[in-house]
Amino acid sequence: RTGGGKMAVQAVHLEADAFLVCLNHALSTEKEEVMGLCIGEVPPAEGRPREGRVAALPVDTNRIVHIHSVIILRRSDKRKDRVEISPEQLSAASTEAEISFSRNSSRLSLPQSSYHGLLAEMTGRPMRVVGWYHSHPHITVWPSHVDVRTQAMYQMMDQGFVGLIFSCFIEDKNTKTGRILYTCFQSVQAQKSSDTARPWTDCCKVVEVSFLFAAFNYISYPSRYDRIEIPIHVVPHETIGKVCLESAVELPKILCQEEQDAYRRIHSLTHLDSVTKIHNGSVFTKNLCSQMSAISGPLLQWLEDRLEQNKQRMQELQQEKEQLLEELAALE
């Protein structure tokens, strides 16, 4: 049930350093869509007294979803237009405890560090997964109908779940203008009943869907979903938080792990001749080099520059602080 058609989320506030990590991630890969999870909180709307009992996923209107950081996700299914995470893994990520991941899982796996614990420690407030984001390289920013369905599925679990899309590498040859867009959306069930008469095989391909996903489609007849727009604002955050920095440097690790997994799968086939093995080894080397020159190298450069800027800023702030202390002393 989607709460009677009432929108559960009024707006999304995305901290600027989390925005930075999303952009880093979106701009890292031009040929494929990338995705990640948004970590944050949904503070209760003001003026609403919470009674003693704990309400599970309250259907409040006027909630603001606050995103403090993101988790970059790997995709085991690296095809261009498929970005999915199964609901079981999503609910796993939502627990307050450490995020667990399965090495043997052929689907998406989550990184090892405990982002929740870290964030909770720093902010003193429990953080959880409040949404997901993915990129549309060279594609329009609007969610495809698959995206809208995926979002609807997540909303079954959590009404306040939001979806973000970053569209990049959009270029207008005539005006020589480049563009980056980002949007925020949720899904609602389409009102018109005439549009819902579609066989479920049209809406999702059987082969790529996990068992749970298929079960979901059997249990509830898949009616048409529409997207609704959610206002999103980037909230200034002048320094980059620890969790965001760690997420940012996680990306090259994730890319390397994906490459290693692909190589290991091939390498485990023992019947290959030495020429093929050399070829595969070279492919791995080449891909890793390409990752380093596109991601790791520029990442290192950016971090060093940021370090320099921060040192400079420290000096300026130090001077300003001394001046202010003098001023304060003079006033007393």
Partner: protein, 375 residues
């Protein structure tokens, strides 16, 4: 030309921009290299392509606006050095982030850019413009980016320091005026021809009328002679022939037709109290009557809503607009020209007057005419 920027540098610029509530600017550091590609194919011996590649490695954000230039756009080299320090030699361009603005370089940005090319010694300095726009409900936002290399474009001022636009517009004005005068001469000639024809026609009409009169007179006289021989009871009313015009023609003045008609009815007074608006019931009832407003120099664009024939202040077709500005005209109709300097005693240019010292004896139209003739 091709340009590249790493995703991290780009995101970092977006991040700094998101953190600032106003515009944001900074410098682009990197390198420019020339790539020469020689391709050999079966159809061609060799084909060399030159490509200039601009690689942006990182950016140096400015903590606030106007940190190395002032409001007039004058760049201060000391401040520039303080910001850049030893990274100065790596500067290949600069960038600006603005919200809800056009994707064009502003004039101040042009001025700053030109000074930077000289001060930094980079003739091919680039300018990266980021514009940010959002949908009305703030659910979708777009960041557009364009790279400019404006050093090849023309300057506003020519070598004499005169604004090029003034020369161009004066040429247009001259050409137009010449055309006007040429057509005027043709019109004058055609007027004379028409006049001559009209005079001929009138003369002929008069001659004909005269002849007809003479003929009628003859007939009458004959009839009178005949009627004297035969007694008649009823006397026909004497037909008084009209006095014919003596046919004088004042040069340049067309005479009225010999047909004397009733004088045209006088214009009726337009006021709301009359009830002779039988043909247009709604016309005089509404309080806002829009009348076509002749557009003259200094006309405003709004229409008069007064019910009478009175025109409001800024004399559209009234001769009063040719005089000195009347007192009831407010300050906002003064010249738009700005002066950032103090007016001097010996200023010979009308344009450098501030509003307070504007002489009231010079009407707008005349001063402009004299000025353009002095250029």
């Amino acid at each position: 030309m091709a340009a590249s920027i790493s995703g991290y540098t780009f995101s970092s610029v977006c991040y700094c921009s998101a953190n600032s509530s106003a515009d944001h600017e900074g410098f682009l550091l990197g390198e420019v290299r020339q790539e020469e590609t020689v391709s050999i194919s079966d159809s061609q011996i060799s084909n060399t392509e030159f490509l200039q590649v601009i690689e942006i490695h990182n950016h140096e954000p400015c903590s606030k606006l106007f940190s190395f230039y002032d409001y007039a756009g004058k760049v201060n080299e000391e401040s520039l050095d303080r910001i850049l320090k030893d990274r100065r030699k790596n500067v290949i361009g600069w960038y600006r982030f603005r919200r809800n603005t056009q994707q064009q370089m502003s004039y101040r940005e042009h001025i700053i850019h030109k000074q930077l090319t000289h001060i930094l010694g980079v003739p091919d300095l680039v300018f990266l413009l980021f514009s940010f726009i959002s949908t009305a409900n703030n659910s979708t936002h777009a960041l557009e980016y364009v790279l400019f290399r404006p050093n090849r474009s023309t300057d506003f001022f020519d070598k004499d320091g005169v604004m090029k636009d003034i020369r161009a517009i004066y040429q247009v004005y001259n050409a137009l005026q010449e055309k006007v005068q040429a057509v005027c001469i043709d019109v004058e000639k055609s007027e004379r021809v028409v006049e001559a024809f009209q005079a001929d026609v009138n003369k002929l009409k008069r001659q004909i009328a005269q002849k007809k009169n003479e003929k009628e007179q003859e007939i009458r006289m004959q009839q009178a002679i005949l009627s004297r021989q035969m007694p008649a009871d009823n006397v026909e009313p004497m037909f008084v022939p009209r006095m014919s015009y003596t046919g004088f023609a004042v040069e340049g003045c067309t005479l009225e037709d010999s047909d004397v008609s009733d004088p045209p009815p006088p214009y009726s007074d337009f006021n709301t109290s009359t009830h002779d608006s039988s043909g247009s019931p709604g016309l005089l009832e509404s309080s806002s009557i829009f009348m076509p407003r002749p557009q003259a120099v200094g006309s405003s664009s709004y229409v008069s809503t007064s019910a009478g024939l009175k025109y409001s202040g800024n004399g559209a077709s009234m001769p009063s607009s040719q005089r000195a500005l009347p007192d009831n005209v407010d300050e906002s109709e003064d010249s738009d020209y700005e002066n950032l300097l103090e007016p001097t005693e010996s200023s010979d240019s009308e344009y450098s007057q501030t509003r307070e010292s504007r002489p009231s004896a010079h009407p707008d139209g005349d001063s402009r005419n004299t000025q353009t003739s002095q250029i």
